[in-house]
Symmetry: C2
Subunit: 464 residues, 2 copies
């Protein structure tokens, strides 16, 4: 049985997936603005041998619900939200193995400074950085950054493909491994003959520069992707080393994992070249009864409006026009019906009211929710692994710090006892830890070389 | 006698001003890639009651010398160079009072994400962030980020003025002080009526968004500026709270401080509204003889080529065309002559060879260099304070950690004994510590209000 990989799913804000838990007296999430909030979480995750913390991000507010940001603000739904990058160096200081997956959009800054930032973090964390590549999905973020409207979905991915070409070349092909010599006798810090200028004059980006950072442990950060669309999946099959999936049922996840692994092969890669993480929320107690009691307690703090703010943002449909008592499933067969299908358990006979949908989303957001004893949780995780082909889970919290503490204290020992989970970290970079080999990305290196070759052959054509 | 303010001048690289010291056996600067390098420095600076660490930055390589980056790479002159922002959270963790001045160019990303990043750092550091606003001066940085060539100098400042308007509005006018309510009974995280959308449709920037961060301790970070040109000084007089000046003699500094304080008054501000830091390099020993011996030892590691790489980058003149023995002063009366004047002591009768210039720049770069006992160094600093009107110094290191340790162990007690330097930190934000009052910027708030008023009056005109 393969080992379960675990990420913890966070955002640099209080309310991420389970909106309203800030009202719970045991919850500390409004302290997201402080360094110790994050270093405490990081140490706790490392105590539980988590592979990494995965930091989601938004660059705008959820303003589809009601057509403005009022409900998002009132409920604290992913707003206020700070920059995710800035908490990583502090968390790196207090840990030795934990990985840091960070969401950065490539839509709002040129490849060169982003490449430098990632190289810097890879140096400072000693090779523990992963980059979740996103192109942005909120209209509000586009408006915040000076665009009249969002670039169309497929074009965003074409631009992203070229962006990746540029950053790969900066990371993989600008500095040779032994460029930095630190030869005190000869007085040579870096051998200039081993540093190469990247001259990329493309359709969307022009870069003419040597990368300004020396090679970091991983060079290219571990690449995460979460695109669920067809174009997004092609992008993932080309670039991703870890993929983040989310659906309410094992059946749907199994289908999308299968499709992804096929898409990998179509790109000339191996099915196991990508590590797939499924979103999951766990509420665990020593017994099923204790877990159930926690669940009932957490339910008291659900912010229904906040839940529908998320739903509206994800689907583009304004749920504020409906009453909580409105029955939407089996009475309506429209876009809202379809949207709810995407985020509720795949029980075709169930009748849903808007309020029930809000309650469902209210704990764990769009993720499957598992409530029970350590044995029940481990059974469920094991079943997901066996029936879907995922490699592990992206665990969303309900309340901090209890959700993490409970999982580490109760579920981790159970998984270890079953031989499903590591009892020690491997040495090496994050990439090495995840795949058991290799600090650097063969994919990034090959794509960088292909891009260089394409430029060279175009030049030969001009000369010939 | 007013208290001396102290910043330590760094960049996230090994060779910053004194190029070649990485060859010195006591030097640790090639460890700039690690977190502990920076946390050790931060703790040492706080032990010496430094007001802050000032992080310079470049986004490109110095490639004027010889027309390429070879000499910069060979000598390790500000390359490799990592992102300065990423080391701040780690340094913040191990200190309580030290300020963090960080250089960020506004040329390569929209105002919205930069505003978020600064707000995040201001939260995490509990109000200890300063932003050194730059528009970039290296052609190589422009090419690295996809521009065909640099935007012209004065236009860069016009764009920067509008950029500042936008970030001030995001920081000062989007969230009211009591917007975040955390009212558990009412279920209100943030009161939406106290959060205001910033709609800026300007000449260079369009932003239509609420700021995504809640108010941080300082809101607007303490604003640093270092522009020496006439347009740069006007920009500084309008925006800056701290100004960084550099010249080889007290006489030149005195003139530029006087001009700056007059420019402040022309902008309706008070002369003392800006704290001026002069660049200085100090080599101190228990006695003059010991200091002199250190100086002679450090001289052995000077990289002359690296020094001329800096000179070439600063002046735009390629010094590689000259031999070290060439006499440039009193024989030539051209651009190189003028350039050397800017960076050597203002002794009109001195004859300089290129090699002597390189040696001069080789220790401390373009800064005045003070070598001597604690008493001699304190005398010199006192004389600079009295004769120039500066408020303190930006201290460049020669070698790390010795330069900082020596200063803290030897000079700080001497300055304290003379009543010229604090023996404890004040509480409060960095702004409060520097000016003895106020956590927030009256200037930023006034400029933000003026920008809002201008928009409103333009709209009234259209309606009228």
């Amino acid at each position: 049985m393969k080992q379960i990989r675990l990420n913890a799913f966070f955002q640099n804000c209080a309310g991420h997936q389970s909106i309203g838990q800030w009202k719970n007296p045991i919850d500390h999430s409004t302290q997201y603005k402080t360094l110790t909030y994050w270093t405490d979480i990081a140490q706790e995750l490392e105590r539980g041998y988590f592979d990494g913390i995965f930091l989601a991000d938004v660059m705008g507010v959820y303003d589809v619900y009601g057509g403005n940001a009022d409900a998002a603000l009132r409920s604290g739904t992913q707003v206020p939200c700070n920059d995710p990058l800035m908490i990583i160096p502090a968390m790196a200081m207090v840990t030795r193995h934990l990985g840091f997956g960070v969401t950065c959009t490539l839509s709002y800054e040129p490849p060169f400074p982003l490449a430098r930032r990632m190289s810097t973090l890879d140096h400072l964390t000693n090779g523990r950085i992963a980059w979740n590549v996103v192109t942005g999905y909120l209209e509000s973020a586009a408006k915040a950054t000076g665009q009249k409207t969002m670039t169309s979905h497929d074009l965003r991915y074409d631009i992203a493909d070229e962006y990746m070409d540029v950053v790969y070349k900066l990371w993989e092909k600008s500095w040779e491994d032994d460029a930095v010599q630190l030869d005190k006798d000869a007085g040579v810090y870096t051998d200039p003959s081993k540093v190469h200028r990247i001259n990329h004059q493309g359709e969307y980006y022009n870069v003419d520069a040597v990368h300004i950072c020396e090679p970091s442990p991983q060079r290219t950060p571990l690449i995460f992707q979460a695109g669920a669309s067809s174009r997004g999946q092609t992008f993932a099959a080309k670039h991703a080393e870890c993929v983040f999936v989310n659906a309410p049922s094992k059946k749907i996840i199994a289908q999308s994992v299968k499709k992804l692994r096929e898409a990998l092969q179509a790109q000339g890669r191996q099915p196991e070249d990508v590590c797939v993480f499924a979103l999951m929320t766990v509420i665990v107690g020593k017994t099923d009864e204790e877990a159930r009691a926690k669940y009932e307690e957490y339910r008291r703090y659900i912010d229904r409006e906040g839940a529908l703010v998320l739903m509206s943002g994800w689907t583009g449909i304004d749920f504020s026009a409906l009453a909580y008592d409105d029955v939407v499933k089996h009475e309506r067969n429209d876009a809202i019906h379809t949207a709810i299908d995407r985020f509720t358990t795949a029980d075709p006979d169930r009748v849903w009211t808007v309020g029930e949908v809000a309650d469902h989303i209210g704990l764990g957001g769009a993720s499957p929710l598992v409530v029970g004893s350590p044995e029940r949780v481990a059974d469920e995780m094991q079943a997901w692994m066996e029936e879907t082909g995922v490699d592990g889970f992206n665990l969303a919290y309900t309340t901090i710090p209890a959700s993490i503490q409970d999982f580490v204290d109760l579920v981790v020992p159970e998984l270890q006892a079953r031989g499903l989970y590591k009892a020690a970290y491997q040495e090496g970079t994050l990439r090495h830890k995840i795949f058991g080999k290799g600090d650097r990305s063969a994919t990034a290196s090959a794509l960088a070389q292909a891009s260089l070759d394409a430029v060279e052959s175009a030049q030969l054509k001009v000369i010939g």
